[in-house]
């Protein structure tokens, strides 16, 4: 997670570097530390250091770190020649390094020669079966080939060991949604909610999945999670407001004819509808009639 102060610092340094104000190395260090993806900038400024022998040698042993960083950035920008040069330099310096081996495998991946990349990763995993980066690269490789089931399998294998890696859970949830396996996706979102209970986005995504799954129980739970999203965002999330309206109308359809046991639902949905109307009135008053029509169709705005 990048905090606000770190981000402002990064942006300040970036604009300073862009205007030739120096501090390039500090900027690159910060990018590396925060793990942000600004490959084009890294490539441009990193190369400016690497191509200048005086600046390069003044880095000392950090020079090799920079080579690695620039190589990865270059692969991200599809400058494969630059990446290749960097990797060759690193290979000459560290002939047996696993880390360089990883870069070489990534180069195969960037070129699109999947089989060679797969082979390289497999041999790297044999030496060190606990390298999380390689596991993740394999998932990315499977995804790049469009082989989602393979990606799921790799991710599951990874999560079996590193089960506290919540970014991986999130990735898995998104893959499951793309495969329309909503039950599994719901499980992943439960994990995410457990890990960071105060992030409203996970509540929202979980509610979406539950709503998609359908069924009375799931819809009721989905409504709860839409409500908690609203609670956590301070009422600023329109998607959750719409979600509540949709859930309520779906529940009403399912329980039609039966005696109504939830008493709070009309209240909740009319509140959500009122909040939506207020937001539209403030932000986009010309769309207000469309909203009223839609809400009327859902029979929630009384």
């Amino acid at each position: 997670m990048v905090t606000k102060t770190e981000e402002t610092q990064l942006n300040r340094l970036e604009s300073q570097v862009e205007h030739g104000g120096g501090g390039v190395w500090e900027y690159l260090c910060l990018v590396r530390k925060l793990k942000v993806r600004r490959s084009d900038k890294v490539l441009k400024h990193g190369l400016s250091i690497l191509n200048d022998p005086k600046k390069r040698s003044s880095l000392g042993p950090d020079e090799w770190t920079l080579y690695e960083q620039v190589a990865v950035a270059a692969m991200d920008c599809q400058c494969l020649d630059v990446a290749k040069d960097c990797i060759n330099v690193l290979h000459k310096r560290f002939p047996d390094s696993k880390r360089v081996g990883r870069l070489e495998a990534m180069l195969f991946e960037a070129k699109g020669s999947w089989e060679e990349a797969e082979k390289a990763y497999a041999s790297l995993l044999e030496d060190n079966s606990l390298d999380p980066v390689i596991h993740k690269r394999r998932v990315a490789l499977a995804k790049a080939q469009g082989n989602m089931l393979m990606a799921v399998e790799c991710l599951n294998k990874y999560l079996n060991i590193f089960m506290a890696d919540y970014d991986a859970w999130r990735e898995l949830a998104e893959i499951y949604i793309s495969l329309q396996m909503y039950k599994q996706a719901a499980f992943c979102y439960e994990e995410l909610v457990l890990s960071q209970p105060t992030v409203p986005l996970y509540h929202l995504a979980y509610a979406d999945v539950l709503y998609t799954l359908g069924g009375l129980e799931n819809l009721q739970t989905a409504r709860k999670y839409y409500s908690s999203t609203i609670d956590l965002t301070g009422g600023k999330n329109n998607r959750a407001l719409f979600g509540i309206c949709l859930c309520t109308s779906a529940i009403a359809q399912l329980t039609k004819g039966r005696n109504k046991e939830d008493k709070d639902s009309p209240d909740l949905s009319s509140l959500a509808a009122a909040a939506l109307e207020k937001v539209y009135k403030q932000g986009a008053s010309d769309k207000l009639p469309i909203l009223t029509l839609a809400l009327k169709n859902l029979r929630v705005s009384s």
Binding site: L130, I161, F162, M163, A164, E190, V193, L194, S195
Partner: protein, 216 residues
């Protein structure tokens, strides 16, 4: 008491400066020696997994109210059922940490290496300082201090009449030992400064008192 002691300039040239220089050099030397001896340990998949399981279980406990009851129950069973639950350890099989430490020679070896690289040079330098420079005043700090600092600054001199702002040579050694951290982090880079003080504090259980170390 009121009269100033006059310190020989030879003390400065032959005690104060050499002592500091030697301390710095030893610190650098030790850094490289410990770098040489450090073995890259391959993490055991079982231990890595255990740590991750515990993190996840802790999250489950902390956030139990945030997921539906059904989902919580499913997870609880997954973690703690008696057949193949991840957190279930059959009775009598639980290893205590001590036994595990001794059963794994690598771990003991690592600890010994760490301790050796710290203790041996320290005892040697301390003996060296004690042998050559014990019992005289080596420096004077330019501001007065209260009596409480006597045990810190005048170790090895048992005179209660000397003003506290005089520093004995043995105390100078200790001041160097604990005060050079900043310098090392400048010379050797941020992370790999020899963190003597921290290790020392860990060993002596946080309460750190130079006079206690002297009694070793």
């Amino acid at each position: 008491m009121a009269e100033d002691l006059v310190l020989d300039t030879a003390i400065r040239d032959w005690v104060l400066i050499p002592l500091s220089v030697v301390m710095v050099l030893i610190g650098i030397l030790r850094h490289f020696v410990s770098k040489l001896m450090r073995s890259s340990q391959v993490p055991d998949p079982k231990i890595v997994k255990e740590g991750q399981v515990i993190v996840r279980a802790r999250n489950l406990r902390a956030g139990a109210n945030f997921i539906p009851p059904k989902a919580f129950r499913a997870r609880r069973v997954y973690f703690s059922n008696e057949e193949n639950g991840l957190l279930f350890v059959p009775k009598g099989q639980a290893q205590n940490a001590q036994a595990q430490m001794f059963s794994d020679p690598n771990m003991a070896m690592d600890m010994m290496k760490k301790n050796l690289s710290m203790i041996i040079p320290q005892t040697l330098t301390f003996a060296w300082v004690n042998f050559f420079f014990s019992g005289f005043v080596a420096a004077k700090i330019p501001f007065p201090l209260t009596q409480r600092f006597r045990s810190m600054l005048q170790n090895g001199i048992d005179l209660s009449t000397v003003d506290v702002s005089y520093v004995s040579s043995r105390s100078w050694y200790f001041l160097n030992l604990f005060g050079l951290r900043g310098l090392f982090s400048l010379i050797l880079g941020e992370e790999n400064a020899t963190d003597d003080t921290q290790r020392m504090m860990q060993m002596s259980g946080f309460g750190f008192d130079p006079s206690k170390i002297l009694c070793l």
